[in-house]
């Protein structure tokens, strides 16, 4: 492996976000390799959503830095970050409700491609996410889980190098969740993914590496088996005080 390949695609150094006296993200050092799928978990208030928003430019960090492909992202606006090759899927699906699913996806694909290529990418995404049946339906009339899938297709159609997903499985049926898990597993390796998620069953289905947030800090990082059996992680999730929490 070359030095360039070994270098993380995304990293944060001492990333801190304060809201007045409350430190929501506290000096977080995090790194993600190219092609890696990482899940961020933690109880409510752990700081993972704030950390996510610092990565997407929705919040400007109080201190520290965010590096993506050796470029500083800290303080950049969301649209600048997207242009650098990061796709963002928000917690509540953001779609053009008056347009069919196909046109929503094509709009994203059209960003960096010709009309013909955009149509091809749209077809590929409809097939990849298995939502061809929804292609002609206005997204405003779709169920929440279906909207989540259309938004994922829209994000992927932009051909990002890194995809940030905030609770992508929320509101999905079991079948949709299974489909999403398959897609994410397939994507890992071809692109990098960070998934913020609460649903532990879903995390078991997709994750290889997990970062646990607690009290604004990275509490522990490890593979699925290690994290799921970690007694202190279990205590955090059950609401008990974790001894020796960082």
């Amino acid at each position: 492996m070359t030095a360039a390949e070994d270098r993380p695609l995304l990293s944060t150094k001492e990333l801190t976000m304060r809201f007045g006296g409350v430190v929501a993200v506290d000096q977080v050092n995090f790194s993600l390799k190219s092609g890696e799928l990482r899940c961020l978990i933690g109880p409510n208030g752990a700081g993972k959503s704030t950390f996510f928003k610092c990565l997407t430019g929705q919040l400007k960090p109080s201190a520290g830095s965010v590096l993506f492909a050796d470029q500083e992202l800290s303080g950049k606006t969301t649209h600048d970050i997207v242009r650098k090759g990061i796709g963002i899927k928000t917690q509540v699906p953001n779609l053009f409700d008056g347009l069919p699913a196909r046109e929503n996806i094509a709009l994203s694909a059209r960003q960096n491609n010709s009309q013909r290529r955009a149509e091809e990418i749209t077809d590929e995404m409809l097939e990849l996410i298995s939502i061809a049946a929804l292609a002609r339906r206005d997204v405003g009339s779709l169920a929440h889980g279906e909207r989540q899938l259309v938004e994922l297709a829209m994000v992927l159609a932009g051909q990002p190098r890194l995809v940030l997903l905030d609770e992508p499985a929320a509101g999905m049926t079991g079948e949709e969740r299974g489909r999403l898990a398959t897609v994410l597993r397939d994507l890992a390796g071809r692109m990098s993914l960070i998934v913020v998620e609460h649903d532990m069953q879903f995390i078991r289905e997709i994750a290889t590496e997990i970062t646990v947030f607690h009290r604004g800090r990275v509490f522990i990082e490890g593979d699925v088996a290690e994290i799921m059996t970690h007694s202190e992680v279990q205590e955090i999730y059950l609401g008990k005080e974790a001894n020796g929490a960082a």
Partner: protein, 341 residues
């Protein structure tokens, strides 16, 4: 079957052709009073277009469009009185309003103001201008030879001349044709702009601002551009209003003017360019006719009509008319079609 794009252009072409016919024949076929009345409709239609564009195609609901209308009028008046010609003052009115809109828009959009806050700020800024200009009655409030006149306004504003011909003051018929040409030009330009990439991004912002940003577009910059264009058009309408009346007073900044503009656009149809023009002509004509009767306060009748309009035709007059036409077309066996703005 015509594509939606072709239909859109066909619709705009039809409106433009009708506009050109009106431009040519109105001064020939109608008497002076009617030509003057129609000139008023043309100026107010341009004013309505300024809001129709930013609201209908950019999702920016401004409660203070009168600010640009008044500023344009005062800029034209002061510059025309001082310069002894009208072409440059007209351009100055447009330019200053565009600059003012850009400055105000910068603080609003880069300050991430949205929805109701944006409405409140635009309204408050306009009311500040109204209050400010009302307090300029003393002789010390003069710019060159032009006295601002406070609540009395500025009288004897020079009538617009033909462009770059300071000695050729326009006759009422010429003024109608000139203003009509401007209205048609702005309508066509806005139509082209809406169909351009800039326009499509603007519509995308109207539909979902967050997603547009997540597609990599700088929403703030686009909104600033949309708002500036709307301000420039509002300023042009204000300058035309000042020369049409040869008088301007602080009421041009008033809440009533802003509210009327909103009502014209809402009644005519948000999301179309032609609808608000229909709204201006329909409601202004109605006001004129109701003003001629002594039976009941015409404002009560007008208010009642507006209430029924909003309840029965929530999309506005023009989109509802288009829906009706499409329904009739389907009934007689046509294939139906898309709405053209």
């Amino acid at each position: 079957m015509l594509s939606k794009v072709s239909k859109d252009w066909a619709g705009a072409g039809f409106v433009t052709t009708i506009g050109l016919a009106i431009l040519i024949f109105v001064p020939i076929l109608f008497d002076l009073f009617e030509v003057l009345q129609m000139t008023q409709y043309v100026v107010l239609s341009l004013f309505a277009l300024s809001l129709a564009y930013i609201w209908g195609y950019g999702g920016i609901l401004s409660f203070g469009q009168a600010g640009f209308f008044g500023l344009g009028g005062y800029t034209y008046a002061v510059a025309a009185i001082n310069m002894g010609q009208t072409t440059v003052p007209f351009l100055m009115a447009i330019g200053l309003c565009a600059l003012f809109a850009a400055a105000l828009g910068y603080f609003m959009f880069y300050g991430r103001l949205n929805d109701v806050y944006l409405g409140v700020v635009t309204l408050v800024v306009t009311l500040i201008l109204w209050k400010l200009i009302n307090h300029t009655a003393g002789p010390e409030y003069s710019i060159g030879e032009a006295r601002l006149g406070g609540f009395n306004g500025i009288p004897s504003i020079p009538i617009m001349t033909l462009p770059w011909q300071p000695d050729m003051e326009m006759e009422p018929g010429q003024m109608f044709q000139y203003f009509m040409a401007i209205l048609i030009g702005v309508y066509v330009l806005l139509h082209v702009l809406i169909k351009s990439k800039f326009g499509r991004v603007a519509i995308s912002i109207r539909e979902n601002e967050v997603r547009t940003g997540l597609l990599g577009y700088d929403v703030r910059l686009y909104k600033l551009g949309i708002f500036t264009i709307g301000g420039a058009i509002g300023g042009a309408a204000g300058a035309m209003w000042a020369t049409y009346q040869t008088f301007i007073d602080p009421n041009s900044f008033s809440l009533e003017v802003s509210a009327k503009c909103l009502i014209w656009v809402m009644a005519g149809g948000v999301g179309t360019l032609f609808g608000p023009i229909v709204g201006v002509i329909g409601l202004q004509y109605l006001s004129l006719k109701l003003g001629e009767t002594d039976l009941i306060n015409n404002l009560i009748i007008l208010g009642t009509i507006l209430m029924f309009l909003v309840l029965l035709l929530p999309k506005g007059i023009f989109p509802s008319f288009q829906d009706l036409m499409q329904w009739l077309w389907r009934r007689v066996g046509g294939s139906g079609g898309e709405r053209t703005p």
